[in-house]
Homo-oligomer: 582 residues x 2
Amino acid sequence: MYLEKVTGPEDIKGFSAEQRRALAREMREAMLKRASIHGGHFGPDFGIVEATIALHTVFDSPKDKFVFDISHQAYPHKMLTGRKDAYLYEEHYDDVSGYTNPEESPHDMFNVGHTSTSISLATGLAKARDLKGDKENIIAIIGDGSMSGGEALEGLDTAGEMKSNLIIVFNDNDQSIAEVHGGMYKGFKELRDTNGKSERNLFKAMGLDYRFVADGNDAEAMIAALEEVKDIDHPVVLHIVTKKGKGYKFAEENKEEWHWHMPFDIETGEVTQPLIDPYAEQTAETFLRLAKEDKKFIAISAATPASMGLTQASREELGEHYIDVGIAEEQAVAMASGLAKNGAHPVFGDYSSFFQRTYDQLAQDVCVNNSPATFLVFWASMYGMNDVTHLGFYDIPMMSNIPNLVYLAPTSPEEYQAMLDWSVAQEKYPVAIRVPHMMVGSSNRPVRKSYDELNKYEVVRQGSQVALIGLGSFCNLAEDAAAKLKDQGIEATVINPLFITGLDEELLESLKENHDMVVTLEDGVLEGGFGEKIARFYGADRMKVLNFGLPKKFYDRYDYGKLAQEHHLTAEQIAEDIIKTL
Amino acid sequence: MYLEKVTGPEDIKGFSAEQRRALAREMREAMLKRASIHGGHFGPDFGIVEATIALHTVFDSPKDKFVFDISHQAYPHKMLTGRKDAYLYEEHYDDVSGYTNPEESPHDMFNVGHTSTSISLATGLAKARDLKGDKENIIAIIGDGSMSGGEALEGLDTAGEMKSNLIIVFNDNDQSIAEVHGGMYKGFKELRDTNGKSERNLFKAMGLDYRFVADGNDAEAMIAALEEVKDIDHPVVLHIVTKKGKGYKFAEENKEEWHWHMPFDIETGEVTQPLIDPYAEQTAETFLRLAKEDKKFIAISAATPASMGLTQASREELGEHYIDVGIAEEQAVAMASGLAKNGAHPVFGDYSSFFQRTYDQLAQDVCVNNSPATFLVFWASMYGMNDVTHLGFYDIPMMSNIPNLVYLAPTSPEEYQAMLDWSVAQEKYPVAIRVPHMMVGSSNRPVRKSYDELNKYEVVRQGSQVALIGLGSFCNLAEDAAAKLKDQGIEATVINPLFITGLDEELLESLKENHDMVVTLEDGVLEGGFGEKIARFYGADRMKVLNFGLPKKFYDRYDYGKLAQEHHLTAEQIAEDIIKTL
């Protein structure tokens, strides 16, 4: 047993090839057991075990600095840098985050979770080193999927002009989360097929030196290659070929499913607690129908088809009505604008956190041009991804303050369906839909067919004294809070605003007649959000306004229930706060 | 005289080579005269005259669709598509915008102004054409400077996998606004030097077909090359070499100065009304001092060094303390994070409108990691660029709602200096500074040395009844409005908040004692902005709140004075509104 004794990289530096092979086996065993119980990223980590052993054998971390792209492949790195317990012992599984984390270890340079950032961050580390007159190695480790992102390509371009040490380990397993997409992958394939000799070389075209390692799962070959580039005096790309999911049959065979995985049975590979987002499934079903009904329909993905419920089979069925642009959210949004301008009906869906990549494309390419494209924002909620790098509740301030955009907030599967059908068919507005989180079920609230009349809110229940405006996923919460108020003798009005991007001034004005307080509830941060617009509307009136939501902060691995409690986002607390303030 | 008779592209299709040469001369003459009187983009348009004549000779616009990148080089295109009068006759100079504009002509597909979008937009047009079963040519025209932007590179990657007509005219004049930067430019130079034969070919590496035209200023060679790619059944890059500023000596010799130009004397090339932003000059002076005092200081530009007042001479003087990453704002911001994490003191400055490219990098690369980098946001104001694609007043909703960021709003050159000096030296916070617009002069308000104590506002003048909070450039307006109120017998409090990203809750709380109204003034849109946070703070109180600023909208080529008047942003109107509402 080697892994149990590894307290830091220095413990493995003197290992023999045989010891390294044994260590790699132990690391995979530990990861397999942990993943089967705990879930998490899988394929990226299984593929990079030997490369990580080699990196820590050759380089001297933390003096030499590693930047792992996305850092979802950093489990082996964590095991070798003092955090083995979190992979060996179940009671310690939650001691570590799923990504690199400087609060855990000086061996981690950044909190990273979005793709395509490692080269850019590394160029900064390298330039700072030069300014200070230091000498360490700076190493970015980036997968082929991440290479399609604009930030990575911009980073390559800058690296190609730099003149000091910078090592880019390009980990090529011919796979993104789903299959890779883009013309550059033809070139990468040629490089793999020619042992790195092909002329079609993106890195050389970017002005960079280039080396090739045919088997990146051979620790000895990796060590030899890394020794050669260690202390190099200029930027270099080391292209290594690895196998995603290596060492676990099911993961090797089905790379997409095993990119990230829920807890599973090791023998069968079967998930023990399946995670199903009914809104994703509903989306995929809608797309399959639209592809048959509307020749102008097209679904766009930026390498996350699962966000829209699109399996490999459904993607094939969509055929010409589906395009994956790779991890390239800017391209996805701008392409959607081009599609819409030439008469197509494009829909781009992705997770809320990744829409952050597209502010300028939404504003300039789409909204300045008023291109009638549809954007589906998934997991835009406190409920869901709770890693600091994947928070899904910043989209309202980011998107809703862009002119011309119609940002809709459905409150149920039925309303989502109506909005999606309306949006794809209409040709007047750029529309985004904030898809409810997966626990938001059906309601018996009435559902409109058309949303052409902008900013017209829906009164769900007419009352007086207090009006609760419950946005999207929080409309149910507004109804629950109204029920609590009823117990206290207050018949509150409940409003489903539907539109995040505008005020129903007529309705808000009319509330002044027999209401003393307007309360907003939103599943997101308060700063720059929906509630503040209501507060401004009533600023000079005697109407009291209370805004419920989260204060802006980078929350990390929180418990949803506790976070809601802490910020008074339960029906009981809301009713109490209202009564206290009335 | 040919140009006077050109009502549309059909009028030039039958021209002889001689006629085309005469037309090109006339077009340059018209542009030269117009630029000398009116100002505008210069070099990009003078370089692309022949290529544009060739494009309109070979293709059938608007059936065939052109997408001009940035579209600051579209003057010749406009001249040939029914808008010659706007270039020939002074009284019509303002009939057209400085960019392509679908409201002017069906020959313009998009309102464009930001770089690197043309390929992405064109991939969308092409895919929509295929879905509809149409057959037209889709042509993107993009300069070499724009190629360094991530969106363009993502677009190339998607194009490299497409299988139908798409023509990318790559206009290589070896120049961005300033000199080009990045490793890809070594490859482009090799291609120019080898007549397109070099193996270092970014486009082939992206999976694309490739052709080369050595003299893109030869209309006949261009026509021949375009004829060959017309109706091609797959994406192709046509690499053409042109001369920026061609036909005007001063512009050929000093490409950076003549990228865009103020009105000038044609004989001497000298500017008749120089435009000087004193804040840019102050910034450059500070940088030159810092480069001497602090070895860890570094200024970063994304191809707009002039935003920070950096001339070619000052860039050379900065030496290792300056880096231009090309038109690659994401790289600039992420690199700044890497620099700060490794102990350097980076400052990245750009125009407000271009910061829109960096939302995710600010949030993830910088703020999640709390990297103490400094960002200077120039022309963040209603005053300045007034093209719909370059509006500088969306940065507050975009940036100020990102956690951890400290966004400062100086109100004078003295305060800007103090904030800049403090920010570069401190190592605790990511800091952005909203540089005042160029007309904001010195004030005698006290200036702090340190801003370590976050969200501590400054009371400029203690009064009662009404408190005016004047953010940044609008602090003077708050003082002016207070003076008007004084005439009416109201001694208003005036507050300089300094911090856009947080509330001074203690101060705001204390205002409740002897104030009935709090008024916010901000030089930007109201939605998601600063004032709404104040409105939320007082939501449940009897304090009246009035927010002054602009409603969100894509304003285009407005008159600053009229816009201010329309939205009650003069001291008189503000005072009146206050008295009316009290």
